[in-house]
Point group: C2
Chain length 403, copies 2
Amino acid sequence: MQIAKLLARRTNQMQASTIREILKVVSQPGIISLAGGIPAPASFPVELIPGLIETVLSKYGTTALQYDLTEGFLPLRQALSRHLFQKGIKATADEIYIASGSQGILDAVGKALISKGDAVAVESPTYLGAIQAFDPYEPEYIPLETDDHGLVPASLDRVLSSLRIKFVYSVPTFQNPSGRTLTLERRERIAQIIRRHDALLIEDDPYSDLRYQGEHLTPIKVLAPNHVVYISTLSKVFAPGLRIGFYLAPKDLREWLVIVKQGVDLHTSTLNQAIAAEYLSGNHLDRQLPEIIRLYKPKKEAMLQALDKHFPNDFKWSKPEGGMFLWAEGPKGFDAMDLYHRCVAKGVAFVPGKYFFADKRSGLETMRLNFTMADKEAIDFCIQTMADTITACRAFHSRQVFA
Amino acid sequence: MQIAKLLARRTNQMQASTIREILKVVSQPGIISLAGGIPAPASFPVELIPGLIETVLSKYGTTALQYDLTEGFLPLRQALSRHLFQKGIKATADEIYIASGSQGILDAVGKALISKGDAVAVESPTYLGAIQAFDPYEPEYIPLETDDHGLVPASLDRVLSSLRIKFVYSVPTFQNPSGRTLTLERRERIAQIIRRHDALLIEDDPYSDLRYQGEHLTPIKVLAPNHVVYISTLSKVFAPGLRIGFYLAPKDLREWLVIVKQGVDLHTSTLNQAIAAEYLSGNHLDRQLPEIIRLYKPKKEAMLQALDKHFPNDFKWSKPEGGMFLWAEGPKGFDAMDLYHRCVAKGVAFVPGKYFFADKRSGLETMRLNFTMADKEAIDFCIQTMADTITACRAFHSRQVFA
C-alpha cells in the first residue's frame, strides 16, 4: 500500500540523520574513523557485569525483571542522588527521574513543551541528537552565538529580550560537537540572565565526568535551580548499551515528562537500572572513571600534537580539557565537505561541521574530530592525511584559478 | 518558574493514566488485586539470567554494551525470524525491527502517521496503552463495534466506507481488556476489508503465545501482509523489565518508524536484546512457555469457576482460551465504578471497564479481571467478595427505591 499518503504532516520536518548515513559509510572495513561519537569499547567494564548481575538478582530477585515505575527504579535514583552530590548537585532520590538514555528526556521535553512554530534557542553549533529529538514537534530554531568559551551570554540575553523562547538548549561542558566548555564566570552570567527573563534552560551534561585536566565547573543547574532541567547519562562512564539517562527538572515539568514517557515506553529497563544502581552504589564508577580517563587523555593529547605538527597555520582548533571531541576550523571559504569526500577516498573519515548548525549556511569550514575510538598512531595518520589532503586540495584550486 | 505557560498545546489531550492511579492505590499492602495487567513474577526464568549473561558476554563481548543500530540487534532479529516462522509468519531478520517494548512502536506509529484531527479507528473497548501512545498526536478516535468474538467486520467496513481513517488499531487475540479473540473467519473477512479499502491495520499481538487451550489462529498480518503492521513483545513470555518489543511493517513505513525511534531513544538496550537473542536461540522460550501456561491456566479456570459459583445470573463474562484477562459485564444500568469503590474498601480491587472506551459514556457496567497475579484461593475470595458486594449494593438500592 501507499504509505506516503498516510504520513503525518510533521514528517516534513523529519529526516534520516545525515550523520548516521555518514557513520554507516565510514564503519566499512578499511576506513579509519574520527567520525564516530561513541566510547571506546575498552572503556566498558565488561568483567564487572557477571558480578553486578549476581548482586542484582540476589538483592532484587524477580523485581529486576518486572515492570517498574515510569519515574525510575528507586535504588538507582538513590545511588544517583549520592553521585550528583559529588558534583555539587543536591537532589533527593524523589527528584531524580530516569529515562531511556538522555535522548529519551530530550524527546519528552520536546513533546511536553514545543507546539508547532515555537522558538527554541540552540548553540551554534549544537548537538544533533537534540535537533532530531525536537524536530518532530516542529519548532523554529534560534541560533545562539558561541566562541572558544562556549555560549556567548550577551547573545542569549539579546535573544531572550527580543523573542519569546520556549526553552534554551545548551551543552556547557566539553560540548558535542565543539569540545568547548563554558567558563564559571559565563555560567554565573547565564544563570542570572535566565532567572531575569524567567526562561527555561535545558543543560545537557553527558561529558563532565570525562575531565582529563583542570577543575570541575559548577553546573548551571546549581546556579539557577528553578530554571534549569539538568540532563545526564551513564552512556559515557559505564555503557551506552544499557540506555540509562537521568534528569532533574522543576516539579511541574517533571510530572508532565513522566506522563509523556508513559506513552512512549512505559519505563526504562528495570534490569539495566538495577545493574546501574549496583555499579554506582558498589563504587565501581569511582574505580572505573580513572581508567577511562587514562585511556582517553593520551588520545586527546595525540590528536592535539598531530594537529600542531601537520595542520596548516590558518586552521585553528579547540583544546578541550575533557570529553570526546575536538573542533577544527579552516579559514573562511574552506570547504570541509569537499575535504571529507577526498579523505574518505583515502580511507580516513571525520564529520563535516556544517551538520551541527541549525542555520544550514553556517559552519562550512568546520570539522568535528573524535579522539576516543582510534589509537594514537591512527590518530596521527588521520590528521596527517587530512593535512596532506588540505594542501593538495589548495594546490588544485589555485591551479584552477590560474588556469 | 511557571511551567504551565510553557506547555505545548498537545498536553491538553494528555493526562496521567487513571488506571495507573488505580494501580498505585491497589498496590497498597492489604489489597488483593485483580486490577493489574502484569505477568506473575513466578513466570520469569530468573535462574536462566546468569547463564544467558555469560553466553552474551562470551559471544558478543563489548558489543553487548555498545551503541547499536536503531533497527535492532541483528542476532535478536535472526532469532525472532525463526520464532515468528513457528506462528506462520515468514519474515527475514532484515524485516523485523526492535522497539523499547511494544509501547515504543505504538508511539512511533502515532508520531509517523497521526496529524492533529486524523481519525484512528479503535475497538470498543480497546487497549489503554495505545490510547496513551496516540493521544499526544491529537487524533479523533472512531470506536468500532465488538462482540464476544472481537471486532465486528461489518462495523469496520462501515467505518472505512464512510470516513477517512489513518489506521485501524486492533488486538485480535486474548484482547486487553476483554480477553476476546477474533475467529479465523473474521480474520479473513477483516483482511479482505482492509485490502479492499487499502487501509492500514495495526495488529497488536502480545498474548497469542499464552494459549491454554484451542488452536493457534493465523495472524491478520499473514492474510494481508502489505496492509498490516504486526506488533509483539517478549514482555509476557520472558520478562517485561527488559523492554523488548518487535514489529513487522511495510518497508516505507518501517523506514519512517526508524527515523522516529532515532529521535526518541536512539536504539533499544543492546544488552537486553542480546539476552533476548540467547533466550530465543537457546530454545529457552520453548521450555519456559509450557511452564508459564502451567502457571496461568489453573488460575484462569479458578476464576471462571468462581464466577460460575458466585456471580449473579444477569452478569456475563468472556471465556478466553488464553491471555491474562476476563471481561465481566453487568446488566444495563449497573455501576461498576460504584462496585469498585465498595470493593476497595473491603480490600479487593479490579479495573472498572469504562476506562477502556474511547467514548467516555460507554462500558459503565463492565469490569476487567486479571487472573495472572493472584493465587487460586485469592481469586475465589475476590470474586466472592465482588459478588457479595453486588448483592448488598442491589439490596441497598432497592430499599432506596421503596423508601
